[in-house]
Symmetry: C2
Subunit: 436 residues, 2 copies
Amino acid sequence: MKSVKVGLLGLGTVGQGVATILARNGDEIARRAGCDIVIKSALVRNLGKAEALGFDGIAVTQDGKAVVTDPDIDIVVEMMGGDEPALSLVLSAIEHGKHVVTANKALIAVHGNQIFSAAADKGVVVAFEPAVAGGIPVIKAVREGLAANRIAWLAGIINGTGNFILTEMTQKGRDFADVLAEAQALGYAEADPTFDVEGIDAAHKLTILASIAFGIPLQFDAVYTEGISKVTRDDVAFAEELGYRIKHLGVAKMRDDGVELRVHPTLIPASRLIANVNGVMNAVLVQGDAVGPTMYYGPGAGSEPTGSSVVADIVDIVRTLSAAPGHRVPNLAFQSDSLSSHPALAPDAFESSYYLRLTAIDQPGVLADITRVMGELDISIEAIVQKEPVGDSVEVPVIMLTRQVREGAVNSAIAQIEKLASVKGEVTRIRMETLG
Amino acid sequence: MKSVKVGLLGLGTVGQGVATILARNGDEIARRAGCDIVIKSALVRNLGKAEALGFDGIAVTQDGKAVVTDPDIDIVVEMMGGDEPALSLVLSAIEHGKHVVTANKALIAVHGNQIFSAAADKGVVVAFEPAVAGGIPVIKAVREGLAANRIAWLAGIINGTGNFILTEMTQKGRDFADVLAEAQALGYAEADPTFDVEGIDAAHKLTILASIAFGIPLQFDAVYTEGISKVTRDDVAFAEELGYRIKHLGVAKMRDDGVELRVHPTLIPASRLIANVNGVMNAVLVQGDAVGPTMYYGPGAGSEPTGSSVVADIVDIVRTLSAAPGHRVPNLAFQSDSLSSHPALAPDAFESSYYLRLTAIDQPGVLADITRVMGELDISIEAIVQKEPVGDSVEVPVIMLTRQVREGAVNSAIAQIEKLASVKGEVTRIRMETLG
């Protein structure tokens, strides 16, 4: 049987997952791929630690250049994360005619256009299934499985840390900070959780999903990004009372006048299947014009789940080795000369429903003041609820759900409502999607 | 731009979906595929009706042979259903060097081994995504996306009619016969509903899924098949009280001593995501050793959903046209010379938990009699519930949930319990899976 030689850039969580899978399932994988997949060498930070891992036959090195220029190596797998030296090494690998698999969502979201262009020049494949939603083959599903469709929109729970935190807040009535501390202790969240809880990780993944769904270039800078750190236990509870659940979603919508690219906490009807995706699991719901709704669910991170996607990409590359480059699956689903310049819309142009929560003085006329503002801006209200005051307080929470409207109008309404004498402090605004 | 010519065998529900999608989304699809996909001709039963449909530029004919031998046609799409003349026409298309896409699950499940062998001889592709779970790209996900994994088991809601009926029974407390009549009126069920409600359609799909998951030949005859026609409103309600939902599942499990291939009503914990897949929707849950659980959800039938999968397969074929046949994705996921002869297990060897319901005389000692039988056969009981008698009746329903056990032991227990003087009539047995 033929064999294909692989070089790893990184032997951390994902790299160890790849090595473990190939060691344990090598026979099973060769039965599918029709050839053996052999890891020849790996770039590591610490030679001693790598040796302790005991992966037989993998030569470890601290010289990344040696891996990406090794004439023996057919495929380079990049799992270093971040910009540099990952970008330089990937470009160098391409320059030396290697196919590349990367698990690095930031690299693809920010530098993908440059990388794919270099790969096209050299006729090599750059695959990135592990960069989005870990072990779920969602890149393949959208790029190939839904090739017949105009995608109308997609919405994904694509950050496991955020979903774990919101699930705990929902199911146990806990506070954000409390759950975050637990997530850090469990290893679900980093010591610096910014990437996860402020939505940057999700924005990287949404950038990639939107591009392959709509045939637009990667444009990370155009994604509106809002994290979950301001979601309160009260908002979670009020949403639940109204039949909604708060999930941190990446949402991409195709409209005639542009695309909406946004990451934010979102109220969704509790009865939707995706509202019941809990804990660290991920799911991506895609609405195609021919197929209707399809959803892809599974673990969005982790050593072997992400390793599973790395190996699947390697097998795909093995299969394309004899195909003419023009016949391969295009990186971004659409032929590179067919990408559209459909503009990304500014947040004020977003259309959504909204959950608004504010604190009002418990006196007659308050709701009239608020609803007058909404009416003047042509914002239809689906529901408005004034809660009971707690104890002797003269302040009460007021919750409003709007119908679909332009975000600019809602922002104007919020600015006016915050100026009302009967309203205290800021208005909390959370977007709402029916996903129907 | 190049174009690829397609011939359709059938212009019914799915055929019209394919034609509609290519007419509406042709530009979008060409942006992905890098070439135009043109339907040249279609085999129809009724020339007049076909003309009334008004698909411009599709030549209709009543001569299937003319379609499959047309030197202009690159890809033949078979959507006739059933054995003949579908089988002969597909074999003839292959013989004439055409690639084939088929939506015919019975054809692949029963004749697939023969068809794939003929295709290998001629170096053509036979694709069948539309044959399983309609618009969900689950064949692609399992065959390619999970290529790194040993699949431990899969469980699917793969018949929309059956899921619609069970959902109505669960949500509205209705009877099977009543809901079936409605499903027939709505067009969800055929006038002769046997294929759907007796599990044959699901068994065809399970045959295909099991083969691509485990690398075993297609073996429809080895699938244990039980429908939903005997599920009662009472069983649905009792299951719900115990925290379970009844779904009609296709289950394939890999064991050291063989594979379990079975289609039957199944109690699953109501909290599982797949327990909340309702109405005519389908979902397939797959447990891989590296990735863990992943699930694929969407519409399992219908004109454009199934047409979506047909067109995706056509685009895939367009992409493989320049690849050496040895480098293509193998039909059954594994290289054809690497299929294993792992045996299919007989039902008595299945291992599962069980829900048992029986009618007993409401007198002391009944539960002792029953539990003695279970104990003698080493069957652990997880729960046993004796319901209140209704009115003056001396008979009461008794519900038992067992722990995991061999089915042969449960069948012996049922035979002995049915002979007890204190037990009336037959014992209802429904399998139970935690899918955990």
